[in-house]
Symmetry: C2
Amino acid sequence: MGCIAEAEYHQSIDVYESIESHPIFKGLPKEVTATFAASARAQHYPKGKILFLQQDKAESFYIIATGWVKLFRETFDGDEAVIDVLNEGCIFGETAIFEDGIHHNSAQSIEDTMLLSLPLSLLKQQMIQSNELSMKMFGAMSRYRRLQDQELEHRDLQSAPQRIGCFLLRLCNQDQLGPITLHLPYDKSLIAARLGMKPETFSRALTRLRRETGIRINGSTVIMDGLSQLTSYSCSACSSTFPCEDIK
Amino acid sequence: MGCIAEAEYHQSIDVYESIESHPIFKGLPKEVTATFAASARAQHYPKGKILFLQQDKAESFYIIATGWVKLFRETFDGDEAVIDVLNEGCIFGETAIFEDGIHHNSAQSIEDTMLLSLPLSLLKQQMIQSNELSMKMFGAMSRYRRLQDQELEHRDLQSAPQRIGCFLLRLCNQDQLGPITLHLPYDKSLIAARLGMKPETFSRALTRLRRETGIRINGSTVIMDGLSQLTSYSCSACSSTFPCEDIK
């Protein structure tokens, strides 16, 4: 994999500040963060750009500065499974250093996106030298694993409308009191794929969610009287408590 | 969490050998493996024993010497989602050191099982001191993450019979030529739960798998003319190639 969108991003972004304040690097010695910042490259990718494909040789890992990225896998039959949809602050592509230097899924920008790309070779070298960095990476991986466990749990035990309810709750400020208006962050067809639903299943489930909870959905705008409209509906079929410790 | 089954396991097991030869410890300096081996405790757990519960304080992590362990989560409604079923050589409970020292799922032996339990505090201490150990743990975690990605992919794109076919293929020696006889490693009801299916869905899917591939199933014995009976059926709806790199 190399640089795909070659148009440099000229909007102001302080790469040093972005790296230093990122949870993975925060608190590391200045010389370590400076090394990463010096190697980081900020690049803009328009909506729909393939960033890398499954089985591509991996040379970089990425931090999302702004925008959204879809991780997916494709079968021989040509079907696509959406593994995750990531936004600002998320890291991806980093596990390739332990996977023969090969990406095991594909990545695509699904909105205008700015990424910081950093060399995987530097990450590996610094992880060998800095145990603090290794431990932070391990912590991030543990958290991701827990979210995947929860995703599998929800596929087993939540109904389709309950899973959409959970998806919407994750977009909310969980401390908010009173009415809430939120905007769906990307296309409904992608939300369906992210939740492992066929578009027609998603559409039916959305209708049922509306009817059974009373939330209103106009286009990409969702209006609720309060969080409890969804928590009482979705969280009873989940092993986590609300406020949701699994997404803290 | 503490020691649950107090009956010490008196059958011969060479704890040092088990630790030294385990992929996580293999190749580490002798003094590191010796420290782990000195702290390891071999214990026998009968079938059905709860090893720890979600939200329990975590003091140990475990290596399965023999037997099978189910990891699961329960909802407030009392439903259970099986996150994974692990066997010999697998490690579990280790991510708790990055999760506030709390287990985020429950664990239960589903056959007579022997575990090596090791202190989490030692793992954390040694990971801080030994980057080699950290990197090995990170590699194991990356591999597990890839398997979870594949699991999510299969839930989206494979039919129920195809998923059972994939489950059976994972029990085979993938290099084997000619006819294969294999035994289901645990109850069909648990296989159904592991694959995220209701028992009645599993039962119908098994019938369809038999009819569409020609494999024979008598009780817990599965007989195939060859691997291709299942690979051509299941692997076309998967993003991995066969022999299956995702389970190597």
